[in-house]
Symmetry: C2
Subunit: 144 residues, 2 copies
DNA sequence: CTTTAATCAGACAAAAAAATCTGATTTAAT
DNA sequence: ATTAAATCAGATTTTTTTGTCTGATTAAAG
């Protein structure tokens, strides 16, 4: 199978988007997020802990605790979440799996692929999550 | 971690490119391919069997047997190999892992992502492996 | 016809990723 | 104080992917 982002990263982005679509509320529990997004609660909880550690979301412990965004949605880039969870490998690893692939010792697809990856990187780096928040609620409604 | 193609697919493309860089010779054993590309021989062997089943390479059994391309290199598209090994999921699956993501019920990133995926698809579909064969030998030399 | 060197088929093992569980800690409310 | 509801830390399980092994079959060469 082929993958773009790890499942963890997918759900991380989903969760952050959910948080941003609820800006204004204080904190939101991982229970609510898991229920709304129809995804396993323990998994979401663990991912949000990672994102807390990397400073994208912040958490409040104890009763009435939960998660919230650590910054304004227009200051959080998609790339931040991807780097926090999946790291930067996708952007540097050789698409054909050759070792030491670079412009000095390029693999056959190096140049062609670099262009696509650069575009992807640029998009993730430019897009902030506030561009997406209004679309999230609509998508959530369609989940059964 | 994030991945684009599975390891199987990466090595599948490597192997096909190696075969194409040796057009003119009769057949090439999986042993030679594994040795030249510095990858496990049993794994390469298994991948080439899959590619044989899907008609991209052809095989000759018995002593002096081995693999060769089933078509001219300019008739084999990168996409053929990707589809044969990884299937079409990458091109249709939701980048955020939402179920039923489509233009009717799009995920927040649907439109933005579709553009990048379409470009990628187009590239893989247009590029034939003869465009890459001359670059393969050079890359192989750099492998220690 | 026997040996040798290859593909092929399918079971098996190891490693990685995804998901779950357990229990500790924290904090609000009673 | 005690209880309840949450995060948090880390161990454990399950599933998937990756890689290996074994033996059967095929075909060339002596």
């Amino acid at each position: 199978m082929a993958i773009i982002f790890s499942r963890k990263c997918e759900l991380g982005i989903q969760a952050v988007l959910y948080l941003s679509s609820n800006e204004g509320r204080d904190v939101i529990s991982s229970d609510e997020i898991a229920h709304e997004l129809k995804i396993p609660k323990e998994f979401v909880s663990k991912i949000l802990q990672e994102l807390t550690a990397s400073g994208i979301v912040s958490s409040k412990k104890g009763k009435m605790g939960g998660f919230s965004l650590a910054k304004k949605p227009n200051k959080i880039h998609l790339l931040d979440i991807v780097l926090a969870i999946d790291g930067s490998d996708v952007f540097s690893k050789c698409v054909l799996g050759f070792p030491h692939c670079s412009s000095e010792t390029p693999c056959p697809m190096h140049k062609t692929w670099s262009q696509l990856i650069d575009e992807t990187f640029k998009m993730l780096n430019e897009e902030t999550i506030d561009n997406y928040t209004h679309k999230v609620l609509q998508k959530i409604k369609s989940l059964k």
